[in-house]
């Protein structure tokens, strides 16, 4: 008896790690709920990155420790958080002026579907059962200078999340700049999806098979690697 084939690809913290490497010193970053929240754990220590939380924080710190929560100080996921020295508070209209006005350097979001042209669907499963909740996703998709998507390459049922055209209700049009998955790092360009990196033990053809839109391999593509993380 042999063990079944091990799932290929990176673990979720590794996806966050990989995205974190692309966040430059001094960047102002907004993080969506889910995988993006892992990013601050993996930003190289010498870089100073300022986190924006759309509920009115700039310079957000790590989550509050258990027992030290201040429920007047929460993040966009309504969890207790902290403020770093240099942080500031402001109201919702000012906060989204920052977003809509193009002052956020990078926002990292999750996704249900990403289209080849950068269209994003991440707010509404359209199943008619669960009430859709949009939050700040549409504002961020349109307003942030760069939109990173962190996502499993494929849905749980194996279906493609990167597709020629989104079938789910859209969050924003041609807004995604880069996609980080367990299998690859893909840049959305004017001429289509360009694979910058993919995991070494998967061929480009195999990656293409798992993707619902045409991929191009960057001439200077690199293997996608991340350290082992807990």
């Amino acid at each position: 008896m042999t063990a079944g084939p091990q799932k290929k690809g990176m673990a979720r913290p590794q996806i966050a790690w990989r995205a974190a490497q692309d966040i430059p010193d001094g960047a102002i970053v907004n993080l969506g709920i889910g995988m993006p929240l892992g990013i601050p754990n993996y930003i190289p220590a010498e870089r100073e990155v300022i986190l924006h939380s759309e509920n009115g924080l700039l310079g957000m710190g790590p989550p509050a420790k258990e027992g030290e929560e201040d429920w007047e100080l929460v993040n966009a996921g309504t969890l207790a958080t902290t403020l770093l020295p240099g942080g500031s508070y402001f109201h919702h209209a000012d906060s989204f002026a920052m977003i809509r006005g193009g002052h956020i350097d990078i926002c990292a979001l999750g996704a249900f579907q990403i289209a080849a042209n950068g269209d994003l669907a991440n707010w509404n499963l359209g199943d008619g059962v669960r009430t859709p909740t949009v939050g700040g996703a549409m504002d961020l998709a349109v307003g942030a200078k760069r939109v990173f998507i962190l996502t499993d390459h494929n849905a749980r049922d194996g279906g493609a999340k990167i597709v020629e055209e989104c079938t789910l209700p859209l969050t924003g049009l041609t807004c995604v700049d880069r996609i980080y998955t367990d299998l690859a790092v893909i840049e959305v360009t004017a001429t289509g999806l360009v694979v910058l990196e993919h995991i070494e033990d998967m061929s480009f053809e195999e990656l293409q098979d798992k993707t619902g839109a045409e991929l191009q391999q960057s001439a200077d593509w690199k293997p996608l690697e991340a350290p082992d993380l807990d």
Binding site: G56, W71, T78, H91, A93, S95, I99, R100, P132, V142
Partner: protein, 229 residues
């Protein structure tokens, strides 16, 4: 003499009518005027239109007002908070009319209402179902949606400190929707932990000048979702 302090929640919430449009501040439980919202239940109002970011818990705050049957329409960006099934198909609240608005558009529409701006253009939601039926326009080669101001009959607001002029100082992320909602209602009612003497609030820290406030009630230990304040 100007004195916006009222003696208790009942007085603070007097004269709100059936069918009123009510905005309530708060994001998560931060800055949520829970005592005013729960107090509103005792007014046994019907047919309210409620405007808020979203429901945090089904039997608390805005959620309680909705599940109690006071609300016929809810305008929110995140109507169903994590862990709730409110408004989902098959639930008792599924029939409530929902207007889901992107959070930044919701905030800007509310600010516009208070600022006398009846409409504005935004790129947010262009080409998505949340802009369906809305007028669009290309400006300098980019696509925008025309959004309309939101105003309300009543705003329920939570702040940390106030004075008798109605000046408000908030605490941390408790600002959220409160300063802009305070601007946009005919009747702005505020609960604060403490009302201080005129002149005690730092003029540089007053995020809501009293011009926007009608009534202030002191609730020393505000009701919170997570226990002790």
């Amino acid at each position: 003499m100007i004195n916006k302090q009222v003696s208790n929640l009942t007085v603070a919430l007097a004269e709100i009518e059936n069918g009123a449009t009510v905005m309530a501040g708060g994001f998560g439980d931060a800055g949520s005027p829970n005592d005013l919202i729960h107090g509103l239940l005792e007014c046994q109002l019907k047919g309210l239109t409620l405007i808020g970011n979203g429901v945090v818990a089904e039997d608390f705050g805005q959620g309680r007002l909705i599940t109690a049957g006071c609300v016929v329409k809810y305008i929110a960006s995140f109507p169903r908070g994590p862990g709730t099934t409110i408004f989902d198909a098959g639930t008792p609240t599924a029939h409530i009319e929902l207007e889901v608005v992107p959070q930044g558009t919701l905030a800007e529409r509310i600010r516009a209402g208070g600022a006398g701006i009846p409409g504005f253009y935004t790129g947010t939601a262009f080409g998505t179902p949340l802009a369906a039926g809305k007028e669009t326009r290309q400006i300098d080669g980019k696509d925008y949606v025309l959004e309309q101001a939101i105003t309300a009959d009543v705003a329920l607001i939570m702040a940390k400190h106030a004075d008798r002029w109605g000046n408000l100082v908030y605490s941390k992320s408790g600002r959220n929707f409160n300063p802009i909602m305070a601007m946009g209602a005919k009747l702005t009612i505020v609960q604060v932990e403490e009302i201080v003497e005129l002149g005690e609030l730092d003029p540089e820290t007053i995020a809501t000048p009293g011009i926007f406030v009608d009534r202030v009630v002191e609730v020393e230990n505000p009701t919170t979702l997570y226990g002790e304040p």
